[in-house]
């Protein structure tokens, strides 16, 4: 078991390195850097000016070196620019070059500086992640119990009418992407079009003070899309368990149906949905980006859109690290949890 976790951790680390390198490479392509120079320096720079601007700030170094510096395994650059000024990667504004530390990267906790928000990337991501965490918490509170209840009810009597109606409901919910359900919910429940103006169409107010009125629509929009999928997986695993021999034994002993479901079937039926819920996180991240844009809730997804849309390289890199990290950690938890929950699987 220990070896298994260790190997998984190794693969995870390798994946994270590869992914961050790809993001780093894509954001540091020449046209992106040129755009950066023109937005940061002067929009009417000549090509030579762009080259020297980038050279002075260490952008013209070889890609692996830049990546190493950003990661914090190579010492930050100290460059005497063509304009005579000496710049160092690790020097804070106003700090003399000699006092600057030689390593400053992700590993040292230095995430860089956002050109859009004019703030430290680390602090931006921390505050925005907090807001998204609040959203995700409520999404989970709605989605997981809802999906499990639907799945278990549908799966306990396969082929019954309850099963068919609930399965249709879950198919409909998987077929409704967030940008469709969100738009429909806003126009039905937040405008006067249908006379049901019960909720607020924006969640900007929910960042400080979340109420049922301004937070329900974004939460239910994300929850609905994921709910159908988890419910279908729960249903599949429940139907499988209900045909197992030990359930038949219990029925033949005369155990009542509710008791069979609650005591015998449920525990084994919930192993598969656990992994599915964990693997839903990458998809939820998509939903978060769409819903935060749609409802103007300024969380992590909104920052991703802002960073990518405005070519804010360091912020985008920070956002990528966090999202890749979330995806990989949930995959790891899902793998380990599956082994823990399922006594039949023994990985030596």
């Amino acid at each position: 078991m220990g070896l298994f976790i260790l190997r998984r951790l190794g693969v995870m680390l390798l994946t994270a390195l590869c992914l961050t390198f790809i993001v780093f490479w894509l954001t540091n392509l020449a046209p992106n850097l040129e755009k950066l120079a023109k937005t940061q320096g002067n929009a009417r720079m000549s090509d030579e000016a762009v080259v020297s601007w980038l050279g002075n700030r260490g952008y013209s170094q070889a890609l692996p070196i830049k990546y190493g510096q950003w990661l914090g395994v190579l010492p930050g650059y100290v460059i005497e620019g063509t304009d005579g000024e000496v710049r160092a990667r690790c020097a804070e504004p106003g700090q003399p070059i000699e006092e600057a530390s030689s390593f400053c990267g992700i590993l040292q906790g230095d995430w860089g500086y956002s050109t859009v928000f004019k703030d430290e990337v680390g602090s931006i991501i921390a505050t925005r992640l907090g807001l998204t965490g609040k959203l995700m918490f409520w999404v989970m509170m709605v989605m997981v119990p809802g999906a499990l209840i639907i799945g278990v009810l549908a799966g306990m009597r396969e082929g019954s009418r309850t099963d068919r109606s609930l399965s249709t409901v879950s198919i409909v919910s998987t077929a409704t992407p967030e940008y469709v359900s969100g738009v429909v919910f806003i126009s039905v429940f937040a405008t006067a079009t249908f006379g049901m103006q019960w909720f607020k169409g924006t969640a900007t107010g929910a960042m400080d003070d979340a109420t049922f009125e301004n937070f329900f629509l974004p939460v239910i929009t994300i929850a609905l899309y994921g709910m159908g999928y988890i419910a279908r997986m729960t249903r599949a695993s429940m139907t499988e368990v209900m045909t197992a021999q030990y359930i038949r034994t219990a029925r033949l002993k005369g155990v009542s149906f509710p008791k069979i479901v609650m005591k015998h079937a449920l525990r084994n039926a919930l192993i598969a949905p656990f992994t599915v819920i964990m693997l839903q996180f990458p998809w939820l991240l998509n939903g978060v980006v769409i819903v935060e844009t749609l409802f103007n809730y300024k969380g992590f997804g909104w920052v991703l859109v802002q960073a990518a849309g405005n070519n804010d390289i360091e912020l985008l890199l920070g956002v990528s690290i966090v999202s890749v990290f979330v995806v990989l950690v949930t995959q790891l938890i899902s793998d380990i949890g599956y082994v823990f929950l399922n006594p039949r699987i023994r990985i030596s």
Partner: protein, 481 residues
């Protein structure tokens, strides 16, 4: 001209009837759901005369109620579609005019269903689809949009106005608004109103179906070609090849899709030519697939093989070069007369294929791992067949059931991805009538004008729902074998 109402004179009779029936249907469904939890399983009672009687009770009553009210609702909906066809213009309201516009689609659907149901026993898996209600509903929804796209793209029917023409004074006007005299168009109304640039929403939505129906299945086919060509050897050989390919697939899958889109689909990245190189890499897989497929089958008869392979690879190669060769990008070497078409949204196409291929790879790999231990594979190996023959002609046909089901689901997923791209305005021009971009346009003023965003949302939902139901029906029917 007066503005159109929703249902016109038709509604005076049908609307109240529909309301009553819908209310009854809702009551019956709720009653059935609640009773379903408490009611005991249906008990059968045998009578002395040898007959058998089922006690239905309140649950049975609710079920009958659901059935009949549902048929009632269905009949009224059909009336909404059929009756306006014989009514003069405008008297059946917006609903009537829309159903008139879709007349060629209705006719094609009826013809297709009639023919398919008559010959369903001879049509294999496709025919079996018509045994399942869910599958039929799904197929109907999908074919509705396929026919719509076909008639709009080929014959320029259905759409009432040009989807790009701006008519002053109709900005954000509600459904059924009359257009000013002298405006070009088949009918003097905007059926679903005007959007925030005063264009006809109805025409934009039906025009948008062309984009989705053309791109989504094609992108899915390409993703399947890539996934199959790499997944079969990975599952069949295993070992280092499998480890490496699985790692790469997991790498792509661990990437949040939206981040990937934002990184790939920007003008700056297009400038560097990365999408063109990715296209050159991804689109060569159909060539490899068909080349290996035919070669492994006919390599024992060299004359026949050459006769088949040369034309197939020639045509595919030409198509391949035409697709990847784009004016003004890094790959631009073909003379103009050889370049069949320029795809302006190549980057969108490439990124959708790129995102989908790893999942297909994983499915194919899993199926191959399962199927390679079967007896017919061992038999083929004993006969001395080559590895690729076994993979493509023994394993792949036997994996077709799950692959067809996944293909349907994946087209739906691709539609959602295309919508996401449009929603964030990535890679598509803002004038593009595709549903994602139209929803994006509409959402900006959603709190003031709800009507521009709802029709494309409903269209996208119905297509994806249709594909999911179709996949469900296919899965059910293929399991019955």
């Amino acid at each position: 001209m007066e503005a159109l109402t929703w249902t016109g004179s038709l509604g005076t009779i049908l609307n109240p009837a529909l309301m009553v029936l819908l209310a009854l249907l809702a009551v019956a469904i709720v009653a059935q759901l609640i009773l379903g939890f408490f009611a005991p399983a249906q008990t059968l009672q045998s009578n002395p005369d040898g007959t058998i009687a089922a006690t239905t009770g309140p649950l049975g009553l609710a079920e009958t109620g659901v059935k009949y009210t549902f048929f009632g609702v269905l009949a009224i909906v059909i009336a909404y579609i059929v009756v306006p066809q014989v009514m003069p213009y405008g008297s059946a309201g917006i609903v009537g005019e829309i159903s008139k516009r879709f007349l060629p689609v209705w006719i094609s659907l009826i013809a297709l269903f009639a023919v398919s149901i008559i010959y369903k026993r001879k049509l294999g898996l496709y025919g079996k689809l018509f045994d399942s209600t869910v599958g039929m509903i799904g197929f109907g929804l999908v074919m509705f949009w396929v026919f719509t796209a076909f008639f709009v793209a080929v014959f320029d029917m259905i759409a009432t106005h040009d989807y790009l023409t701006v008519v002053s004074g109709l900005k954000n006007k509600g459904p059924g608004v009359p257009v000013p005299e002298g405006t070009a168009g088949l009918i003097p109304h905007y059926l679903l109103g005007g959007d925030n640039l005063a264009r006809d929403i109805f025409s934009r939505v039906v025009r948008g179906s062309v984009f989705v129906i053309a791109i989504a299945p094609l992108a899915t086919i390409f993703a399947f070609m890539v996934g199959i060509t790499l997944g079969l050897p990975a599952g069949f050989y295993g070992g280092k090849l499998d480890t490496f390919l699985s790692f790469v697939a997991n790498l792509i899958l661990a990437f949040p899709v939206i981040l990937l889109f934002y990184l790939l689909v920007t003008p700056e990245i297009v400038e560097t030519g990365i999408p063109s190189y990715m296209a050159a890499f991804l689109f060569i897989f159909p060539l490899i697939f068909f080349g290996v497929l035919l070669n492994s089958r006919y390599y024992t008869q060299p004359a026949k093989r050459t006769a088949i392979l040369v034309p197939v690879l020639g045509i595919l190669g030409w198509l391949y070069l035409s697709v990847i060769n784009q004016r003004g990008t890094v790959i631009d070497f073909l003379p103009a007369w050889m370049d069949l078409f320029d795809i302006s949204i190549l980057v969108v196409f490439v990124s959708v294929v790129f995102v989908n291929a790893p999942t297909v790879f994983r499915i194919v790999r899993g199926l191959t791992l399962d199927l390679r231990t079967r007896d017919y594979v061992a038999a083929a190996q004993t006969r001395g067949e080559g590895a690729w023959y076994i993979m493509l002609w023994e394993i792949l046909p036997n994996a077709r059931g799950p692959l067809i089901v996944d293909f349907c689901l994946r087209i739906g997923y691709t539609t959602i991805l295309l919508g996401t791209l449009g929603f964030f305005g990535l890679g598509l021009s803002s004038e593009s009538p595709d549903w994602g971009s139209t929803i994006n346009e509409g959402r900006k003023l959603l709190l003031i004008f709800a009507h521009p965003a709802l029709p494309p949302a409903a269209a996208l939902l119905s297509l994806v729902l249709g594909l999911n139901l179709l996949a469900d029906g296919l899965r059910e029917e293929s399991l019955k074998d």
